[in-house]
Assembly symmetry: C2
Homo-oligomer: 422 residues x 2
């Protein structure tokens, strides 16, 4: 989750702000459509309230209330819940009263059940697993949207240590966000067995925090690639401030243009944005740049089985995002006989990371409203809360994959060194 | 590597014992064929000696001498080195003078190089990766061959603790085989987070050692499936001797007939024998028998990329064996949205396990020759030494995969519990 965010722009969602079919009355047809909608998403334990404040469904174990504020929002959402719910929620035409995260989890869980039992579920599954249309938008455009948000926005709710916009690692559940991001960086460095003097290449570096951490704490030199001018500028400035500019080089270029040979290859939070079609090319980059006894690590959001990204997230937040299954990820390694040494699934750590982000986001709402409108704030909150629910329910996974060349026998004997200091 | 061995029977290899084209003279044609053979396998650093004791190649860094004792062995091996080398070696018509393991490693490494560079290598690779012909022999027949060997044979060189015919886990490199097999069983039990009172189902149990270990050390009850009558009889007898027969039930049946629901599913060393076509069915068994918060572990020989088993091993030692790549293994999990939590590659541990087995095999040669002929002993030594070389060079991998259901949030927070006692 790095560098390719796109905000829910005013212009694009304006059509969601104008209610159609206005009028306060609720007809038998409206009620039938509302029931059908709930059936379509597996009848989650949620109350359902219509625009006349009529509570149509009131399950005892309800986690929250789904409130449709006008007839149009109901009729629109049923045509494509994945996409329209997010936009209508952002526009304030659908609200969730009660616990937003618990309500989203309830929806994910109920949809999981139908996806395993009903013909409708199987149809939805088949549709979600359809081959991806090759419609990558220009990354320049995506990045432009991202910079409308500005580094200051992310500084308000990411960790203050290293601006990590990726899953943290909580050694224990009550670690702070800062502690957990530092622990994540150590975990990555230990998995890579960094030694003083090693050279590291990084594909996708965000604001450059991991590269600086590696140089400062493990005595390595790092070359980090990123196509975003603003993030590179930020990263270089920070490296200069910290006296690390001789150890860390930030290159404003695509990861596919990586040159040179390195002791370690690392990519944290880029893979889910490059698209599945690029996996073999990424493997080719690794195969080209990794020394004979080099180590590599790829950290990415993933899936238990192939499925497209939620349409709204993909349209409004992360254009082109695609979290791969392990089988799909193997397209990076298998064509080059790269040897997978270790895969760790950290999905509950991402749920917790996102919880911390959401708490800070909420705490900084005053500052954020000075720069962004209410639609944006609702959209961002939905994105963070929905992501918590997705990792919490197992809809999304977080995989860290460690690998080396087939012929490398300088691999660690056990994984004990990750957990016990020498 | 369990329960489906087939010995190199006298009858089958008899054709390898009769030299054709006998005569001691070496012609220019013979030398050309010998050079071609070495070229085909990437010119490994080995001396090459012909039947007239002429040393045709003498590289300085040679690890051993490949000695062809008659013209026919040379001409036969070049038509299909994978298959015929093993049979001719077993027949004593090809010998390797010097270090057998180092010589085999040299061959694997040189073949790896050509497979990455030459058109011949690519052709061999493509051939090795061809879709597998569906020619599974009847397992009854395979098993019959296995029992010709007898439990006493395996007792001579497997560990004395639990008769584990699978990769051990060496907490440190100088652990004994017994220590390492016990450590492997603990490692598996910790990965499965066994708790007293849990129910475990095991697919493929060999002589039942892991099941008894789990019951004795973790207070669980185990139901283990195996289709081999003799192994089941051995396992039941041992359980009775150890007073564990009320905690462990050995079922003489196919893993596909597993019934009931369990807290844990475990399969150590079976997957590489069931064939890739069965992976989805195996996943279906897991999906049917795993409780909502259940944990599973599959331990199997694997590959960095799809390739057929060495033809000789597949024909003489393990009929039907196919070590899958991770991508192929995912056919067990992804169709059922099972969540992969942890993959660990233990290939160097298998090389060490095999080294211990070979040392014990050699130490017991006297006893073994009382029951088996020299062909068998050469074949078995080649199999053990060749397997060491395969794991040592990265030609084979050993994967332990831990998984659970998608909706299970009772998964361990970190993997620290595998390495640090509470």
């Amino acid at each position: 989750m790095k560098s390719q965010g796109e905000s829910c722009s005013q212009q694009e969602v304006s059509s969601y702000s104008r209610p159609v079919f206005s009028g306060k009355n609720v007809s038998a047809m409206d009620r039938w459509v509302a029931f059908k909608l709930m059936q379509l998403i597996g009848n989650p334990p949620l109350r359902l309230k219509l625009w006349n404040n009529e509570e149509l469904m009131s399950p005892k174990d309800a986690h929250g209330t789904l409130h449709f504020h006008d007839r149009g929002s109901l009729y629109r959402v049923i045509t494509n819940p994945d996409l329209h719910f997010g936009d209508l929620y952002s526009a304030g035409r659908i609200t969730v009263e009660g616990n937003l995260i618990a309500s989203m989890e309830a929806v994910y869980r109920s949809m999981m059940k139908i996806s395993k039992s009903s013909w409708l579920g199987h149809a939805i599954n088949a549709w979600q697993k359809r081959p991806r249309a090759n419609s990558l938008r220009g990354s320049l455009d995506n990045i432009h949207h991202h910079y409308d948000l500005g580094n200051e926005f992310y500084e308000l709710w990411l960790d203050g240590e290293a601006m990590q916009y990726t899953c943290a690692y909580y050694p224990h559940e009550d670690a702070t966000l800062e502690e957990a991001q530092i622990a994540k960086m150590h975990h990555v460095c230990r998995k890579l067995e960094l030694q003083p003097g090693d050279t590291v290449v990084e594909a996708g570096c965000g604001w450059g925090g991991l590269a600086r951490f590696m140089a400062a704490n493990y005595g390595v030199t790092v070359r980090s690639y990123n196509i975003s001018k603003e993030q590179i500028a930020y990263a270089r400035e920070k490296a200069k401030q910290q006296g690390l500019d001789s150890k860390v080089e930030y290159v404003e270029d695509d990861y596919r243009n990586i040159t040179g040979e390195y002791d370690a290859f690392v990519s944290v939070g880029m893979l889910e944005h490059v698209g599945q079609q690029q996996f073999k090319a990424l493997g080719g980059v690794v195969d080209r740049c990794l020394k004979i006894n080099g180590r590599g690590l790829v950290h990415s959001i993933g899936r238990n089985s192939p499925r497209l990204m939620n349409a709204w997230i993909e349209k409004r937040i992360f254009p082109g995002a695609y979290p791969p299954s392990i089988k799909e990820m193997m397209d990076i390694f298998e064509p080059y006989d790269l040897s997978v040494l270790d895969v760790e699934n950290l999905r509950l750590h991402y749920a917790k990371t996102l919880e911390h982000w959401l708490v800070r986001f909420d705490a900084n709402e005053d500052k954020i409203t000075q720069k962004f409108d209410e639609n944006f704030i609702r959209a961002w909150r939905l994105y963070l809360a929905g992501s918590i629910a997705a990792f919490q329910t197992g809809e999304l996974q977080l995989f860290q994959v460690v690998f080396s060349r087939q012929e490398n026998n300088q691999i660690p004997w056990t994984r004990t060194h990750l957990y016990i200091e020498d």
